[in-house]
């Protein structure tokens, strides 16, 4: 336990509570059943009064052998399992897997399918960030923003239900294209949502993010420096919150992202230090707006046409080889490494999940913080335990 206690110099703006009186440390189990651990994560905390002196996270309570299952079912049959590792961003998971399989097959899907994929992935990003921001409010102690966030998420789920029939685990973006074309009236529904969303976004900002108590709870808490974020392999809002300008959508463009105009949101220490909990949440807030912009552009540019590659059927037999594709999931880089030996079943399937890498750093941020900050820091990583454990 002691090796996890990180002795490190304080960074600018960071506040460490001084210990005048050291008392006996107490070890507390935060989780596996705890309201702030977003599922079944267990963090063993060591605390001296309210101040944490050590932390160790224990994973694996939600392990479901996703990778092993991938090596025993068909290429297409694995698709529903991808929904289930990060269940808040199932569309993005489908997309990551499908792109990897398509790379193995050496095909590119029709343009209309690419645009619909981008729309779905970005709407799903909004969906996921809404839950992230809402539950972050819950961790900090504000209940109401969570319900407002879920209200808008509900509208998005209606949109997903209309196009694919499912509301959470979609299995919709499949290797070779899409399961189905967009039904009549779907684009109007999406457009109506994008117009509504900017108004509602302002509400979350005013009610939660701009609140003085929220700022005090998150600014200068859990600061991750640029070097630290890169060294620990953080991706997504966790990396960008620390001021690193890196987004796979722009830097390794896939689908039609190179034709779209959007900004990569980077933490800038708006209310505290660059890389604090506030910045990570800030990046998520503004990413929702950027996603909204991307969806609007896609609706304008979307051509008519096929949605499924003509040569890809239901049973796939990619040529022997290997492929890795990483995409920008709401939580960071979600990569699939696939090895095919020409069979209809994968030889090896490996998943690189963003929450897992991001969480690795979280426990090293805890020592020196207060007990209440544990909830704030773990919440700001925005883990989905389904994905860390897979």
């Amino acid at each position: 336990m002691d090796d996890t206690t990180m002795e490190r110099p304080l960074r600018e703006g960071e506040r460490l509570v001084e210990l005048d009186v050291r008392t006996q440390d107490v070890e507390i189990n935060m989780g596996p059943q705890h309201p702030a651990t977003h599922g079944v994560l267990r963090v063993l905390l060591r605390a001296d009064g309210e101040i944490l002196t050590g932390a160790q996270s224990h994973l694996g309570y939600l392990h479901r052998c996703a990778e092993k299952i991938g090596e025993s079912v068909d290429w297409l049959q694995y698709l529903p399992y991808t929904d289930r590792y990060d269940y808040l961003s199932a569309m993005n998971n489908n997309l990551a897997y499908s792109l990897a399989v398509e790379k193995l097959l050496g095909i590119e899907v029709p343009e209309r399918a690419q645009y619909i994929r981008v729309i779905l992935a970005e709407l799903n990003r909004i969906c996921s960030h809404l839950v992230a921001v809402g539950t972050y409010g819950l961790d900090i102690g504000a209940f109401t923003p969570f319900f407002y966030a879920l209200r808008e998420r509900e509208l998005l789920l209606d949109i997903f239900e209309k196009i694919c029939g499912a509301r959470l685990t979609y299995a919709f973006i499949r290797p070779g294209g899409l399961m189905n074309d967009a039904p009549a009236g779907w684009t109007d529904q999406v457009r109506a949502f994008t117009d509504l969303f900017e108004r509602k976004w302002r509400e979350y900002w005013d009610l939660l993010v701009d609140n003085k108590i929220f700022v005090e709870r998150t600014a200068n808490v859990g600061v991750i420096s640029e070097e630290q974020a890169i060294a620990w392999g953080c991706t997504g809002p966790m990396l960008r919150g620390s001021g690193v300008d890196w987004d796979l959508r722009r830097d390794q463009p896939y689908l039609v992202y190179d034709r779209l105009d959007f900004e990569v949101v980077v933490g800038q220490g708006y209310r505290g230090t660059v890389g604090d909990c506030f910045d990570r949440n800030y990046v998520r807030m503004y990413e929702m707006l950027e996603s909204n912009r991307i969806v609007r552009q896609c609706l304008e540019q979307m051509p008519e046409g096929e949605i499924q590659h003509p040569e890809v059927g239901l049973v796939l037999r990619p040529a022997p080889g290997e492929a890795y594709v990483g995409i920008e999931n709401p939580r960071g880089e979600l990569g699939h490494y696939l090895v095919s030996d020409g069979n209809k079943i994968a030889r090896r399937l490996r998943v690189r999940g963003p929450s897992f890498s991001n969480l690795a750093l979280a426990e090293h941020l805890l020592p020196g913080c207060m007990l209440a900050d544990a909830a704030a820091i773990i919440g700001s990583v925005d883990i989905v335990v389904g994905e860390t454990d897979r």
Binding site: E154, E161, A171, E203, Y270
Partner: protein, 185 residues
């Protein structure tokens, strides 16, 4: 203040009276928002009394067009979790259905069973409330009838009669031929 454009400069200056002012102001803004919603119409519905409509494409409990099904097992093979099981006996072209079951303890509503169907006879319906008191109740029978229907029985009987008639005719023909051959000898 909130703006849809990203704010350019960090706004993190904190003075004593600035803190007091921000605390009072942001709390007042928040109270204003929640007070407005206090009197607005709730977004939720009273679920069991009032149900939201599901979409045409909703993936709920399956339904089967049994008269179209040809017992090819394509859906069962496509299922990633092997939740579909079926059994039927063939009487020529007619099928004597024993069962066509879906185990909803396993089913994950991915719709992969619907696409490979050559006759387009298995669909996902709009029913979603799967509630039961016992696990066995989650195994649903999709067939609307078991065994042979009256019409099928008639058709099977007809087919069998035809077959028998054919056989008889063949036999008769063979016998006639034999007779003929015998006569010739």
């Amino acid at each position: 203040m909130a703006s849809l454009q990203q704010p350019a400069a960090p706004a993190n200056e904190r003075s004593y009276w600035g803190n007091v002012w921000q605390a009072v102001k942001s709390t007042a803004v928040g109270l204003g928002i929640t007070f407005r919603y206090l009197w607005s119409k709730p977004f939720t519905v009273q679920y069991p009394d009032e149900k939201l409509p599901t979409d045409d494409r909703y993936r709920g409990i399956h339904y089967l067009e049994q008269d179209l099904c040809i017992y090819c097992q394509a859906c069962a093979k496509a299922c990633p979790v092997d939740c579909i099981s079926m059994d039927a006996k063939r009487h020529g072209k007619e099928l004597e259905w024993n069962f066509f079951r879906v185990d909803y303890q396993k089913c994950m509503f991915c719709e992969l069973c619907v696409y490979p169907c050559p006759k387009d006879c298995i669909h996902m319906g709009r029913e979603y409330a799967l509630v039961a008191e016992d696990r066995s109740e989650f195994v649903l029978e999709l067939t609307t009838w078991q065994g042979l229907t009256e019409a099928q029985k008639v058709r099977v009987a007809e087919a069998e009669a035809k077959k028998a008639a054919k056989k008889a005719a063949k036999k008769a023909a063979a016998a006639a031929k034999e007779d003929k051959e015998g006569e010739e000898k």
